[in-house]
Symmetry: D2
């Protein structure tokens, strides 16, 4: 069995991956949202499910919220609820895409009333952050257009800057704004923040507390994502990750499920650029468990990130540097692939047990009765989903 050094284990012990509350609710496609027994009906139940993931993996001590999906009357109560379950409330995600007002844009809207409403929503999100103790406001904008000529892309970009400036000004000293980019969807001609360059240019114009959020599913086909990771770390502007995986578009599948080697390469660049266990670079999941069970889907996901991090940490930097220096393409690639191909799962299982965690968190979840319990208890009410 491949051994993991104390140094590697020490590094892995510090790793944390934030869970999105909405991953525990129902999600789907425009064709159908399938419901599943046991799905939470409110933010308290979502947090409880997230806590279950953390209890079994030790990897997920915080839960990101989505406003207004996770609006509660008393955020302090939600905070205490979370803490009582061993987790804390994390990033606040704004939502300016589900009101009819936002049909043609939110922070980019030419309609002052709509734009005001969208800005105010973000200011309200910062109020929530003050209440929850959250550090990050994550902004993903659905803004864009479906037809050439539909709107003035340049003016929208300028208005986006103005809107962000006002939101940025409201941030507390310890708070940050992270701006996510996305290639397309729900807009099908142009998206107002379609690529890392745009997000980088926008946040650079704001200041040090504004950073880029990289969602691994938000790129054009064939994009070398680890290059962008490298570049943003180099430029000091990588604020957070939304991990997931995709074969085609923004499929939001389980991270590591579609191209595990890509996840490995991303983590190698994270480590190379000093982004691992760096508080400035938040790790988060953003996934949709459309057809699989949600809690084990999240367990599988954080384990995938952990396993691939372990492999990336195994990379023999000295051997790699020597092969690179010699321009020995095959030797360099061999060193690189050797780390990827090493099976770290037995060593990780052993290490988990040594820390009082289950060796196999997936099996432990299946055996613990939690799923049966929530399926039995959560009857009636409205299951949480993207619209609720």
């Amino acid at each position: 069995m491949t051994a993991l050094s104390p140094e590697i284990l020490n590094t892995l012990e510090k790793q944390t991956i934030e869970l999105p509350s909405w991953a525990f609710g129902n999600s789907g496609t425009r064709f159908k949202v399938f419901t599943t027994p046991g799905t939470p009906r409110d933010p308290f139940e979502k947090v409880a499910d997230a806590a279950q993931v953390n209890a079994l993996t030790g990897l997920a001590p915080s839960v990101a919220l989505h406003i207004p999906w996770d609006l509660v009357d008393d955020f302090d109560a939600l905070r205490r609820h979370a803490e009582g379950l061993g987790v804390r409330l994390g990033t606040i995600n704004s939502n300016a895409f589900q009101d009819d007002d936002y049909k043609f844009g939110s922070l980019t809207s030419a309609d002052d009333t709509v734009r005001r409403k969208a800005i105010d929503h973000h200011l309200a999100c910062i109020d929530v952050m003050d209440a929850t103790g959250s550090r990050d406001l994550k902004i993903w904008l659905a803004d864009g257009t479906n037809y050439p000529g539909q709107d003035d892309m340049r003016a929208r970009q300028d208005r986006l800057h103005e809107s962000l400036t006002e939101i940025y000004a409201r941030l507390g000293d310890e708070q940050r704004l992270v701006l996510e980019y996305k290639f397309f969807e729900p807009a099908f001609y142009h998206t107002d923040v379609p690529d890392w360059g745009t997000s980088y240019a926008q946040v650079s114009a704001l200041g040090d507390k504004a950073m880029v959020c990289l969602d691994t599913g938000h790129h054009a086909p064939g994009t070398n994502i680890e290059f962008i990771v490298m570049q943003l770390l180099r430029l000091g502007k990588l604020g957070s990750f939304d991990f997931n995986s995709r074969f085609y578009a923004d499929d939001d599948l389980i991270v590591g499920a579609a191209d595990p080697f890509q996840l490995f390469r991303i983590l190698v660049e994270v480590i190379r650029g000093g982004g691992l266990n760096n508080p400035d670079v938040a790790f988060m999941l953003d996934q949709c468990h459309n057809i699989e069970k949600k809690i084990p889907g999240q367990i599988r996901s954080v384990l995938n990130v952990q396993e691939m991090t372990a492999r990336a940490l195994l990379l023999d930097g000295d051997a790699l540097a020597a092969a690179q220096k010699a321009n020995d393409v095959l030797a360099a690639n061999a060193v690189f692939m050797d780390a990827f191909q090493t099976d770290v799962r037995p060593a990780l299982a052993q290490w988990r047990e040594s820390r009082g965690l289950p060796a196999d968190p997936m099996a432990a979840y299946a055996a613990c009765g939690y799923q049966e319990k929530i399926e039995a208890e959560r009857v009636g009410g409205v299951q949480a989903g993207w619209g609720a």
Copy 2:
């Protein structure tokens, strides 16, 4: 003004494009379905809206139905309603993707009960066809998987063949089955009918009454769609088109909106292969008017197809053949582009007027008061959409 010859006008006069009933209902993305005033609440209102498109353009004499979205107690009544408005009921589209049973497949399902239900649904669709006098049963399957290993792709393909065989056997002598393929969505790892080759292999195994349906938005990035049009016509298996356009994935935008030159090239191949005004090759729209008004969206669409057909008919075949024979790449391309770049709109407007149609159907619709009328009248009830 470029003149259109009597021969071209005669050809254009015969052109018909079927409208999808669901284009008049609400549609959207997984993020949000925006509602619009005046949206139909039932199939009768959808047919009325479709008839409006036909009245103003003379291009759309039939309406495709979607079962169960357009299920009515009395299809004979719906048929007479349509005929009273100058249109007829057309293709019947099955739907095996919105019941919870179909979470893991329909015609491909390994669960005999589910597969039986899906087959029976298609048999029931043929009953509807008998009632409506429809010729074509269009099958688009959402079947597929999200994760490698989730199911056995080969066994699913075999079961698909078995299911289709049973459905095919139920077809009347004058009825057909058209099998649509789609690259991805809603399944994100594999789709059971992902490409024209699969659809072709499946329908070829059934018989002469089974054909391929080509949706212009259902291909991998960069695919040369007109080549597929050519090939399917050559193989005698192009049964119908679902027209729309896309920049990224299955965006379902207005046909001709994203890449008008591609639409031109497709129509050139249709004409070249004998597919224009050929009853065996049905023209249909399949679009989502997520943010634009639906009735004028459909008017714009059929006009786009008509305009591009006119340009394609202008192609100087003799000059093209001569340049091709001489391997004069630039001359051949010039002949080709000349047809594309000719502005046929004034001539078409004049011709429309000569036939008692409005010169500008878009303006005529805006002026006719229909939109105001439906917005005022259609209050209350549940607006039609993909889920209804």
Copy 3:
């Protein structure tokens, strides 16, 4: 016939498009470079061919050179040769990809000797610029790797910055450096300047005389290129265009041949952002005429840009703004498409004649005897190509 206003004609009269000397030499794919009769053997002949394009179109008064392909002993002689033919020497393109030394990189190389050589090559290019009076040094780097792990992407990025800093320091007050980005090829895993964001970050770190060069064929599938045009103009960093078109990768086809509507949209954004006839934004072709005749290939190309510019200038800004303000998606798109669909060719032909140019430059070239002359005269010697 659609009329072009005096204002539009006045704008068109100022338009210039630089021709690449290498477009007149042979080019091809890794599979085969086909030769053509009459191909130039040296830079003087290339310039003569380029002058022919300008003589017939009035659109192409300058010729870009490629060093070392266009190295001559006496640049002053080449300059006078050009001026005698009515054109001038333009952008200098460096080449750090054809020496065996550059197998693993040039400006990014970890080998100090190689990197020194690459920097010196660029300094020598600036010497050429001093001799030719050229303003722009265009840097397209083939640097990248083929295999994950082959080299350290981050260190390469830092070395690139260092190399560019040294080159930038050598620029004269009126000289500029434009850095081109490219998605992939000839490197197949990572490219050191793969996207506009990287080019933007690199040139921003240099200073005001460093700008981004946008080659229309150098993007991932589906990329909204006009958005990037908008963004770079907004950021004040769009230095030049390399025009061409593509269906798949960097196909280097004739501009406007693959997606004329995309070219229209790009030119609309150029005009919107103040980039038309703006000396800071150079228009240039970068194409390969692998199978078609090269001189008429270039004539066709500059005409395509001119025609599409005329269409873009026809865009009714007031009507568009009104429709956009009203969120009338269909009306805004209609205004936009109306400009695109208007056939400006007759008006342009008439206008050309009024200026003493041939109404149909393609026909004029075919009739003028130049092609026959060069095919007869240019016998013997080595035809120019990418390797010479």
Copy 4:
């Protein structure tokens, strides 16, 4: 250490992967072909290099030839040379893309003289097959066009059928024709055999001795290649593989280097469909070692295929079937991933040693002195490449 069962080892022992002679010659991109010391100057030296790969891996007992690159006066001598080195001559690859005559097509050409020449070339290739004892004639066509309208796609398709019919008729009873498809390159608008559907339709029209060749690098972005493997095996028409890998286009990188999980999935479907160690389904490499050493590049490649085959053989079919039957998405995926993530390298090394092969063929090659020997000996002459 994971053990490989006797059954698996027995299966692996039978596995063979054919090497392409041209992988040992120089290759590159349109920008540059880098030369490497020791590159073969003739087919005899290529075969010698290929034999070295087989000697160290036991995996590659045959060498594919490319005509005319590998034309020799005495094929019997070449055959004996190969046999003396422990390998045999395999598939014959035709080449109808490097003569000036083929600029506008070969088997699809409208010019009868050119088409005759192309057909005759293929008949001559079958003569070579008779001399070498080869079974398969592999046809990859570069035919296509660069511009819409350049030629008549339908007529070309019909002529292709006629040409193939004549070639097919010349095949001996034990000989086969395999027709390769490719998405694009060197043609940039349309390719005459662009997808599996076209290849399938063409070979189906010929007869049982005509099959499809699947090159793993010849698909549109995002294509699910293992689905095509499944489908062609199901249809009984998968004749051979050209293995390589790609990030972008037809990059021709080392198989398994870009997406090892994809290679795993392909091999799972090969096994599922009965294609492993099935004489009807030939495994072959088709790669370009542009910057890495060629012989170890080939060694690495066959080892990658072997390792991934071993992982695919580890797949627990019973557990997978049970999870699939239960629609337990996560369990099914876990079984699938478990096989992929198991490190089979130590077991394979041990097994190699037990068979008298080096445990680490890469290290063995580096140590054996062959590379130094050929670099010293192969001085002078013209290195083999695509043009020679």
